[in-house]
C-alpha cells in the first residue's frame, strides 16, 4: 500500500503532536512528535487509556472537549491562555512546562468514532509575547511618569484630572487640586549643584506622596509638571477648611531639611488650592485657579497654602 506509506511518512515528520483516541479514550494513533515529547514510545502508548498515560493529570477542559467531540460531534479549540496546562508535557532539555494549545475534532478512524487531538507547541509565542508585554509596559510607564522622581508626569496628570472631574460631575463629590511650587529651589541648584537639586526633588516627591496617602489619597495622584512644580489631587474632601489645614501641614512637611553630603538643604513650599466645582468645573479652569492661588501664596510671604479666591 504505497499511498498509506506516504501518508505515514508525512505524519511521522509533522512538528505537531497528533493523538487519536476512541470514545473510551483508548489511544489509536500516537505520532513521533508526541512520543518524543512525552518519552513514551508508540508501541507503549497504543491501546492504553489516555488518562492513564498522563497519570490522570489531564485538564478537565480537555476531558470535556473529548466527551463533546465523541458524544455530540463538536469540535473544540483549547487555547493556552484559558488552559495553561492541558497535558503534563515538558520541554526537552530544560524540563520546563511545554506551553501548548490543543484542537479537538471528531472523526472516523479505523472504522470507529474517534477524536483527533492536535497539540501545538506555543512556547516561543508565549516567551515572545511575555517580552513584548514587558516592553509595552515599560513604554507605557515611561510615557506617563517622570523618570527622576517616579511621580506621574504632566500627561498622566491631565488624564487623572480629566477622570476625576468626570467622576465628580457624575457623583457630585467635590475634590481638591493642589498646585505646589518650591520656594528657594533655584538657590539649592546654584549652591549645591544639580545632583543635590535632583536629590531634593526625589525626597520632596516621597514626602508629598506619603502625606497624601496619610490623608487618604493615592500616591499616583501626585505629579511633577516640570522643574519644581508639582500637583496633587485629593479625590475625597468634605470641606474647604479641612483641605486648607491639610495643605498648610504639607507646607511644614516639605520645609523639613534634606541632608546632602553632610549638609542640610532647606526649601519651602507654596501651595495653591482649587476646589471642584466652585473654583473650576473643567480641568483647565481648575488648573488656572490653583496656579493663581499658588502665586497669591508666594506673594503673601511663601511657605503657606492659599485657597483660590474665585468662590461663587
Amino acid at each position: 500500500m504505497p499511498q498509506q506509506e506516504d501518508f505515514k511518512n508525512l505524519i511521522d515528520r509533522l512538528e505537531t503532536g497528533l493523538i487519536v483516541v476512541n470514545a473510551q479514550r483508548q489511544i489509536l494513533l500516537w505520532n513521533p512528535w508526541i512520543a518524543r515529547i512525552t518519552g513514551i514510545a508508540e508501541n507503549l502508548a497504543l491501546d492504553q487509556v489516555l488518562d492513564n498515560v498522563f497519570n490522570e493529570s489531564i485538564d478537565s477542559a480537555l476531558i470535556d472537549a473529548l466527551e463533546q467531540a465523541s458524544q455530540f460531534n463538536l469540535s473544540r479549540r483549547l487555547s493556552h491562555q484559558l488552559h495553561p496546562s492541558l497535558l503534563p508535557i515538558f520541554q526537552q532539555g530544560n524540563k520546563e512546562p511545554l506551553h501548548h494549545s490543543i484542537l479537538v475534532q471528531p472523526l472516523v478512524y479505523k472504522q470507529q468514532a474517534a477524536c483527533l487531538l492536535q497539540i501545538s507547541d506555543v512556547t516561543t509565542r508565549v516567551r515572545r509575547e511575555k517580552h513584548l508585554r514587558a516592553a509595552v509596559e515599560k513604554i507605557r510607564y515611561l510615557a506617563h511618569h517622570d523618570t527622576l522622581t517616579g511621580l506621574a508626569n504632566r500627561t498622566l496628570h491631565a488624564i487623572n484630572l480629566h477622570k476625576t472631574c468626570a467622576f465628580a460631575a457624575k457623583s457630585n463629590q467635590s475634590f481638591a487640586l493642589f498646585f505646589i511650587d518650591l520656594d528657594g529651589f533655584k538657590f539649592i541648584n546654584d549652591r549645591f549643584g544639580h545632583d543635590a537639586g535632583d536629590y531634593l526633588l526625589q525626597i520632596t516627591a516621597q514626602r508629598l506622596q506619603k502625606a497624601l496617602i496619610d490623608f487618604g489619597s493615592k500616591a499616583e495622584l501626585v505629579a511633577r509638571l516640570g522643574g519644581d512644580e508639582l500637583v496633587a489631587l485629593l479625590p475625597t474632601i468634605s470641606n474647604a477648611d479641612q483641605v486648607t489645614t491639610f495643605a498648610n501641614r504639607v507646607c511644614k512637611v516639605l520645609e523639613e531639611p534634606v541632608e546632602w553630603q553632610g549638609q542640610k538643604m532647606h526649601v519651602g513650599a507654596s501651595i495653591g488650592i482649587a476646589l471642584w466645582p466652585h473654583q473650576g468645573l473643567t480641568p483647565e479652569a481648575l488648573m488656572a485657579s490653583a496656579d493663581n492661588a499658588m502665586y497669591l501664596a508666594k506673594a503673601r510671604g511663601k511657605g503657606q497654602a492659599m485657597l483660590a479666591l474665585n468662590t461663587p
Binding site: 455530540f72 460531534n73 469540535s75 491562555q81 509565542r125 509575547e129 508585554r133 509595552v136
Partner: protein, 203 residues
C-alpha cells in the same frame, strides 16, 4: 424574499434559538463573571445581497470575530461578530491583560477563537439536542474584515440564507456583539422536517 417556513415553524425557530443563546450566555457569564444580556433572536430569510445590506445597516464597518462551520441536519456557518477595535475586549475581560499593540495579540486571537467556539457550540448543540438531530461543528476560525468580506466568508454568493441575529452585551462592561447563524437553505428540508416533528410532539 422567500419564506419557506410557516408562522408556527418560524416562532419555534425563534424559541429554540432563544434557548440556545440562553445556554451560550450562561457559558459566557461563567467565564466573564458578569451578567450577559441577550436580545430576542431576529429570524429572517434573505438572499446574500439582502444579508449584506442588513449587515451594513446594523454592524460597524470594521468587524472581527470568530466563524464556525456546521453540518448535519442543517448546514451553514455561525459567527460571533464584534466591531474590530473591541474584538479582543472579551478576551481581556476573561484573561485580564490590557494591551493595545496588535502584534502582541497572537495568543489573544487564539483565546478569542476559543471563546467564540464555546458560545457557538453551546448554541448549536442545544438546537440539535432539542430537535433530536445530529449536528457536527468544525473548528472555529478568527477573522477580520468589512461586512462584504465577512459575508463572503459566511455564505455562497447565490445562496438563500436564514439569518438569525442576536445582540448581546455585558451588564457591567461596555461590550456589545452579535451572533449570526447563516443556514444554507439547500438543507432546508432537514430543518423543515425537524421542526414539524418537534411541533407534532408538542401537540
Amino acid at each position: 424574499m422567500v419564506n419557506i417556513l410557516n408562522q408556527d415553524q418560524q416562532e419555534t425557530i425563534v424559541e429554540l434559538m432563544n434557548i440556545g443563546v440562553g445556554r451560550a450566555a450562561a457559558a459566557l457569564s461563567k467565564l466573564v463573571q458578569d451578567e450577559v444580556l441577550l436580545s430576542v433572536p431576529k429570524v429572517d430569510f434573505v438572499d446574500s445581497q439582502t444579508a449584506e445590506s442588513r449587515f451594513t445597516e446594523i454592524l460597524p464597518v470594521a468587524l472581527a470575530g470568530v466563524t464556525q462551520a456546521f453540518s448535519g441536519f442543517i448546514s451553514g456557518k455561525a459567527a460571533l461578530i464584534f466591531p474590530e477595535e473591541r474584538s479582543l475586549e472579551l478576551v481581556r475581560i476573561v484573561v485580564g491583560h490590557e494591551l493595545t499593540a496588535s502584534e502582541i495579540s497572537e495568543l489573544e486571537q487564539d483565546t478569542l477563537a476559543e471563546l467564540g467556539n464555546i458560545l457557538l457550540n453551546a448554541c448549536l448543540a442545544t438546537l440539535a439536542n432539542i430537535l433530536h438531530r445530529e449536528i457536527r461543528t468544525a473548528l472555529p476560525e478568527a477573522y477580520s474584515g468589512n461586512c462584504h468580506n465577512i459575508l463572503k466568508l459566511l455564505c455562497e454568493e447565490d445562496s438563500m440564507i436564514m439569518l438569525v441575529q442576536v445582540d448581546f452585551s455585558l451588564l457591567q462592561r461596555e461590550l456589545q456583539g452579535y451572533l449570526a447563524f447563516i443556514i444554507d437553505l439547500q438543507t432546508a428540508s432537514g430543518l423543515y422536517d425537524a421542526l414539524n416533528e418537534y411541533l407534532e410532539k408538542l401537540l
